[in-house]
């Protein structure tokens, strides 16, 4: 176990290092400096700016300095907003993104899984068709289309919810629905198919033959086994939900990290792009790691050596 964990952590560091390197050199491959795109700066000012941000140093020195500062959790200053650190931007946007993300996660798990179970138990009935129709819609229609349609119908036409902002609880409804739609459908479909697999198994028949109550059979024998594949995909799902969708934050004008990211792209704010990319990558890896660990705990049959093959 310990060996597996240290192995994983080691791999995570290598991945992170590669990501930092990749983003750093990608950003430096962009033609022109970060200040050249602005309206004609006086050459002295540009030189002063370059000197201030050490852009005149050789690239390898900049790279080493960047590595050093990232290692001390400092993502550097923003190029476009003087005096603002990338760290501050992330700290500023993270709570919003996390709030929306964790609510969406709750929706996905608390609605998606029961929906899938219902569909599996009522296979071939109208409940199944309804869930599957819903799930297909959720997977096929892009989130930005869902978000705009929701916004149009519920905020503009009916006026039930505000069009932007999170000042009241109703402001959360549309972003959460739009963000969780895809993963809700995905999890519902996955639960249905894995539940159907489990319902077919011999141990379910044994449990029935033993005379256990249907409820007990479903929860203890059915669900517990059916949940394993769901937990496996939950890692990426959690990560994707919590890092939020750029689109959802953009459409609903939520001041989360995704919005900072999209803004920094259109502003060509290179340090912010790099910083947020690295932050995202860290966060994702951490989430996947945690879920993988949970997975090992939940299903004692999985041996670490077996997992590697």
């Amino acid at each position: 176990m310990l060996k597996y964990i240290t192995n994983r952590i080691f791999l995570m560091f290598i991945t992170l290092f590669l990501i930092i390197t990749l983003t750093f050199f990608l950003m430096h491959a962009i033609p022109g400096g970060p200040f050249t795109s602005e309206k004609m700066l006086a050459p002295e000012i540009e030189a002063a700016l370059n000197a201030k941000y050490h852009l005149n140093d050789p690239v390898w020195l900049q790279y080493l300095n960047y590595l050093k500062s990232v290692a001390s959790f400092d993502l550097g200053p923003s190029f476009k907003y003087p005096g603002i650190q990338v760290n501050d931007m992330i700290a500023d946007g993270l709570p919003v993104t996390l709030k929306i993300g964790s609510l969406s996660l709750l929706v996905v798990v608390l609605i998606g899984v029961p929906m899938g179970i219902l569909a599996a138990l009522k296979k071939g009935h109208w409940q199944d068709s309804l869930v599957m129709a819903f799930a297909t819609i959720g997977i096929a229609i892009p989130s930005y289309v869902i978000a705009t349609i929701l916004l149009f119908v519920f905020a503009l036409k009916l006026g039930w919810v505000p069009t932007f902002g999170l000042d009241e609880w109703r402001g959360y409804i549309l972003p959460v629905v739009a963000l969780s739609g895809f993963y809700l459908s995905y999890v519902a479909r996955l639960t249905r198919s894995s539940m159907l697999d489990v319902l077919d198994q011999d141990f379910m028949k044994t449990a029935k033959a033993k005379g256990l109550s249907p409820y007990k059979i479903l929860i203890h024998h059915g669900l517990r086994n059916a949940l394993i594949p769901i937990v496996t995909v939950l890692g990426p799902v959690v990560a994707n939900l919590l890092t939020g969708s750029f689109i959802i934050e953009q459409i609903f004008a939520l001041p989360g990290i995704g919005r900072h990211f999209v803004l920094s792209i259109s502003n060509r704010d290179y340090t912010t792009i790099m910083g947020i990319t690295i932050f995202y990558a860290c966060f994702l890896m951490l989430m996947i790691f945690i879920v993988d660990m949970l997975y090992l705990i939940i299903d004692p049959r999985i041996k670490l050596s077996g997992k590697k093959s």
Binding site: L11, I14, T15, L18, I19, L22, T23, L26, M27, A29, I30, T136, I139, A140, I141, P142, Y144, V145, T148, I149, L151, F152, L156, Y186, R189, L190, S193, S194, L196, D197, P229, A239, N240, T243, F246, I247, Q250, I251, F261, V262, I265, S266, R268, I273, T277, Y280, A281, L284, M285, I288
Partner: protein, 385 residues
């Protein structure tokens, strides 16, 4: 995973069975109505994307600001004049301007008001001796005759000049949609191509060689798949000038990862089978075994994965274009069309309807086709993986 070995086992007993397996797949797919419907939709989409732009009168970049934001259908009114043909016109519900249409529904031109009575909030239009008043003093805005009685519409007509209406710059939405379809299909084609050549061979080589090579190759895949695909694509798009080429490079460079994993898994389980060992004894080299034996037998999951990866490639492109990193103006993609429509959503919802429907239908079609293909290849298997 289970069905390929089944098929192979059958193959060993009765050599002619392999043909009938594909025939069976074909017939099962043929009887799957949603899948066949999706396939016809995709074929139709491809045909119209290729030839559509050639047979329309409009181009994707021609602007006609006089005829901007015209809906695909409108309520037509008639103004009778004594000696001449009646004039047909309609009011644009979004900007309250009047436009003249010919009798068969062709758009003619915007109508100029004879007099604008700003104080009483009325615009007066003159058709021969008939007067029409556009009264905007109270909502909803009304068209009235000279005695201020509301005009009766003579019916709802389809816009024959611009079947899907025009956007805020007066460009034909239909032809822009067709160009968008071209872009989406190009992206789908690139994704398929990359999956086929990089994904399959990467996974195949990794699985076949095993050992240290496999470990290193799979670590690389793991590292690539740690960052979400969109993040990569965005990074690459930032470095390259945004445009179709950048999207293609971005999607092409990382989109083969899932396929590589699946093929590797297939090859790992297939390579222990006897026919591989016998091929090896006969002196076949790695490429012969991979191309001649392993990959054809893994074709089922490869095809299914492919049909399910295509919609996600299309989605990524439209998503990128939606946030402004995709194709550059005046080129149209379904994502940019949606983004443009969002800005005018309140007044002209039809502008959102068409691109949103186009992308959703395409996603549906590829998903149904993938599902149908999977069911056809193994009716028992209804897993999501």
């Amino acid at each position: 995973m289970s069905y390929i070995p089944d098929n192979v086992a059958n193959d060993n007993q009765k050599p002619q069975k392999i043909k009938s397996y594909w025939q069976e797949v074909k017939s099962r797919l043929w009887h799957n109505r949603p899948a066949m419907l999706s396939l016809s939709f995709i074929i139709l989409l491809i045909i119209s994307a290729i030839i559509g732009p050639f047979i329309t009168r409009h181009t994707y970049y021609d602007q006609n600001l006089k005829l901007s934001n015209i809906a695909p259908y409108f309520e037509v009114y008639e103004a009778k004049t004594a000696n001449q043909e009646p004039t047909y016109f309609f009011m644009n519900q979004g900007n309250f301007k009047l436009y003249e249409v010919s009798k068969n529904g062709e758009l003619k031109d915007i109508l100029r008001a004879k007099r604008r009575d700003m104080i009483n909030k009325k615009n007066i239009y003159q058709f021969g001796e008939t007067q029409v008043i556009l009264n905007y003093s109270s909502l909803p805005v009304q068209l009235q005759d000279a005695e201020e009685n509301p005009l009766q519409s003579i019916g709802t007509w389809w816009n024959k000049t611009y079947l899907f209406g025009t956007d805020s710059l007066g460009r034909d939405i239909l032809v822009r949609l067709l160009y968008g379809a071209r872009i989406s299909l190009t992206v789908a084609f690139v994704a398929t191509f990359v999956n086929f050549f990089i994904g399959i061979f990467y996974g195949g080589i990794s699985g076949y060689l095993g050992g240290m090579t496999d470990a290193i190759m799979m670590r690389i895949v793991e590292i690539i798949s740690t960052i979400p695909l969109t993040l990569y694509v965005i990074l690459i798009m930032v470095v390259l000038e945004s445009g179709l080429l950048a999207i293609i490079i971005a999607i092409g460079s990382v989109f083969w990862v899932d396929m590589a994993r699946i093929v590797r898994g297939q090859v790992l389980s297939l390579k222990t089978l006897d026919y591989v060992a016998s091929a090896e004894t006969m002196g076949a080299n790695m490429w012969q075994i991979l191309i001649g034996h392993l990959l054809p037998n893994a074709m089922g999951p490869i095809l299914v994965t492919m049909t399910l990866l295509i919609p996600s490639a299309i989605f990524i492109e439209s998503f990128m274009s939606f946030i402004g990193l995709g194709v550059s103006v005046p080129m149209a993609s379904w994502g940019t069309l949606t983004a443009e429509a969002v800005e005018t959503l309140r007044s002209y919802p039809y502008q959102l309807f068409f691109p949103a429907t186009a992308i959703s239908l395409t996603m549906f079609a590829f998903n149904f086709l993938g599902d149908g293909l999977r069911d056809a290849m193994d009716p028992k298997l209804n897993n999501d993986n």
